[in-house]
C-alpha cells in the first residue's frame, strides 16, 4: 500500500513547447513524464528528487520521475500528456468533461530507484 494523495493535471509551458516540437520528441516526453510533489511529502515518504514512482488511480497506472514542486502537502501534479491520460477516468458526470483534477491517487516508490543514478 502506497501513500494516498490527490492528483491534479494541467498545462505547463515546457509541455506546450515540447508539443510543438512533436509529441514524439524527447522534449515532450520529458515534459509529460514527471510528477511534481510537495518537498515535505517527499521527505516523509523517503522519495528523492529524480527517483521513479508509480502512480495508480481507478483508471490505470504509470511510472513517472519525481520533481520537487510548489505544491501543498497531499497534492501531486502531472502535466497533461500520455501519462496523465492513463490516470484520468472517462466518467464526465453528464458534462462531457472528465475529472482531470482532484483525482485520488496511490503513490508507490518503485524498486528501480533514482533514474539519475
Amino acid at each position: 500500500m502506497g501513500a494516498l494523495l490527490t492528483l491534479i493535471t494541467g498545462r505547463t509551458r515546457e509541455q506546450a513547447i515540447g508539443m510543438h516540437k512533436g509529441k514524439g520528441s524527447s522534449e515532450y516526453r520529458r515534459a509529460t513524464s514527471l510528477v511534481q510533489m510537495n518537498p515535505d511529502d517527499m521527505e516523509r515518504l523517503e522519495i528523492e528528487d529524480g527517483s521513479l514512482v508509480q502512480l495508480r488511480t481507478e483508471a490505470g497506472q504509470v511510472e513517472l520521475v519525481v520533481e520537487v514542486g510548489s505544491l501543498p502537502p497531499g497534492l501531486v501534479f502531472v502535466p497533461m500528456g500520455p501519462s496523465a491520460n492513463v490516470l484520468v477516468a472517462v466518467e464526465t458526470e453528464g458534462t462531457g468533461m472528465p475529472s482531470f483534477k482532484g483525482i485520488e491517487v496511490e503513490l508507490v516508490p518503485t524498486m528501480s530507484g533514482n533514474v539519475g543514478s
Partner: protein, 422 residues
C-alpha cells in the same frame, strides 16, 4: 527570397496575438518577433513541405482520399465529427454542414476545456467585456483557477497586468492582481494577493464570497482553507474597484463541481455589477476554440456536443460529447479536424479511435493521424491560408495567408467531402 510580414496573428492560444512580425526566407518563417516562446515554436517550426494525403499509410491523390473519406462517413451508422479548435471559422461552418447532412454527432475540444463554462453561461448568463476594455479600464484583475503565465504567456503584457491603457496610464501600478488557485504558480508569483484554496472547494469559497459581497453573516471562520476575514477583504476590494475583471480556467471546469463552480463565479460577477462594473472572461486555450463555440451556436443553437442524428440538432453533454461516446463505443467512424484526441483524451476513450475508421485533417503529424485510415495534411490556418479566428473575448481576428503553400485548406477538403456525400 526574403520578406518581412507585419500584423501576423499567432493562433496557438486564445490570445490570438495579431502583432507578430515574421521574417521569411522562401517558404520558411525564420523569425517571429514579439511572439512568446510557444508562438515562436508554432510559427518557425511549421512543416513547409507540401505532402500528399494517405489512405492506410499509402500516399494517394487528393481525390482518392476524398472518395475514401466520403465512403467511410456514408457507411457509418454513428459518425462523430470532432475537434475544430485550431482551424478557421470558415472550415468550422463546413464541418457543421457536413454533420447536418450526415446526421452525425459534432463535438469540439470545448467539451474537454470550457464546456462546463458553456453550461454555466446557459444557466446564469455572462457579464463580459473585451480584452481592450481590460487593458484600458480594469483596476482589479482576478485570475481564478488559471495560470496564464504558463498557458497564455503574453496575456499579462498585452491585456491584463502591465499594459498602459486609457484609464490605467501607469500600467501595473494602476492594477491590483488577485490569484485564486490550489497551488502557487508563475501567475500567483506576479499577484498582489494569493488565495490558496483546497482542491475541490472552489464552489464553497465562491458561495461564501457571494454572501460576503451581499453583506450577509457567515457562520464559519474558514472555507476551503481560506480565512473568511481575508475573503471579506476581497469582497470589499471587489465592490470598491472601478472596473473589475475575473479570468477563469480549468481549475474550475475540470474539478469537482465543474459547471456549478463556473456558475457560482458568473453569478458573483453579475451581482458585483450592483456595486461597480465587473466582467468575466474564460481563458480559452486553443486559438479558435471560441470560434468553434460561436459557429456551432450560430448553426445549431448549441455550443458543443450536438447530434444531428434525428434530422434536427439536439444538445447533449454527457450523451453526445466525444469522451462519453468514444468510451461507450457508440461511434463507428470519426472525422477529426485540427485536433489530437488520441493524445489528449483519457486513455479508455482514446483507444476506441484505434478500433474505428478515422479521418484526420491536420497540417502537422499527430498521434490521432498516426492511427487514422485517411490523413489530409492541410494548410496551416493563418500561415498558408487566410481566415478568421475568435479571440478568447469573442472578438474576430482576421488571419493572413502569408504563403501560397499549395496545401488545400480544411475548408476546401470539407467542401469536397460534402460534395462527395451528397
Amino acid at each position: 527570397m526574403s520578406a518581412v510580414v507585419e500584423h501576423v496573428a499567432c493562433t496557438f492560444c486564445g490570445c490570438v496575438c495579431d502583432d507578430i512580425v515574421v521574417e521569411c526566407e522562401g517558404s520558411e518563417i525564420i523569425k517571429a518577433r514579439r511572439a512568446c516562446a510557444v508562438g515562436r515554436g508554432v510559427l518557425t517550426g511549421r512543416d513547409s513541405v507540401v505532402r500528399r494525403p494517405t489512405v492506410r499509410g499509402r500516399e494517394v491523390e487528393w481525390q482518392e482520399a476524398v472518395g475514401e473519406a466520403a465512403s467511410i462517413l456514408e457507411q457509418a451508422d454513428s459518425p462523430l465529427i470532432y475537434g475544430l479548435s485550431s482551424t478557421s471559422i470558415e472550415a468550422q461552418r463546413r464541418a457543421v454542414e457536413l454533420a447536418d447532412w450526415l446526421g452525425a454527432v459534432i463535438d469540439t475540444t470545448s467539451s474537454v476545456c470550457h464546456g462546463p463554462t458553456g453550461l454555466a453561461m446557459q444557466a446564469v448568463g455572462e457579464a463580459t467585456c473585451t480584452l481592450g476594455e481590460v487593458r484600458d479600464r480594469a483596476d482589479l484583475i482576478v485570475f481564478w483557477g488559471c495560470n496564464p503565465a504558463d498557458s497564455h504567456p503574453r496575456h499579462f503584457g498585452r491585456f491584463s497586468l502591465s499594459p498602459k491603457g486609457a484609464l490605467t496610464p501607469n500600467g501595473r501600478k494602476d492594477r491590483t492582481v488577485v490569484v485564486v488557485d490550489v497551488r502557487p504558480t508563475r501567475t500567483s508569483k506576479a499577484a498582489d494577493r494569493f488565495f490558496q484554496v483546497n482542491v475541490g472547494t472552489d464552489y464553497e469559497v465562491l458561495s461564501v464570497l457571494r454572501s460576503l459581497v451581499k453583506g450577509r453573516d457567515v457562520q464559519v471562520d474558514t472555507v476551503g482553507g481560506v480565512s473568511v476575514s481575508e475573503l471579506r477583504d476581497l469582497a470589499d476590494r471587489m465592490k470598491e474597484s472601478r472596473y473589475g475583471v475575473a479570468f477563469m480556467g480549468m481549475g474550475l471546469t475540470m474539478s469537482r463541481g465543474r459547471h456549478l463552480n463556473v456558475g457560482e463565479l458568473f453569478s458573483l460577477v453579475a451581482e458585483l455589477n450592483e456595486y461597480t462594473r465587473f466582467s468575466v472572461i474564460p481563458m480559452r486555450g486553443h486559438g479558435n476554440v471560441a470560434g468553434a463555440d460561436q459557429v456551432l451556436t450560430w448553426q445549431s443553437g448549441y455550443p458543443f456536443a450536438v447530434s444531428f442524428a434525428r434530422g434536427y440538432p439536439q444538445f447533449g453533454p454527457g450523451e453526445f460529447s466525444a469522451v462519453d461516446m468514444l468510451s461507450r463505443r457508440e461511434v463507428d467512424a470519426a472525422l477529426v479536424v485540427a485536433s489530437d484526441p488520441a493524445a489528449h483524451f483519457p486513455h479508455a476513450a482514446a483507444e476506441h479511435l484505434g478500433r474505428i475508421p478515422t479521418i484526420v485533417l491536420d497540417p502537422a503529424p499527430s498521434v490521432t493521424a498516426s492511427c487514422a485510415r485517411v490523413v489530409f495534411p492541410t494548410a496551416y490556418y493563418g500561415i498558408d491560408a487566410p481566415g478568421t479566428a475568435y479571440r478568447m473575448d469573442n472578438v474576430p481576428i482576421p488571419l493572413q495567408g502569408i504563403f501560397a503553400s499549395g496545401r488545400p485548406t480544411d475548408e476546401q477538403i470539407l467542401d469536397q467531402i460534402i460534395e462527395a456525400v451528397k
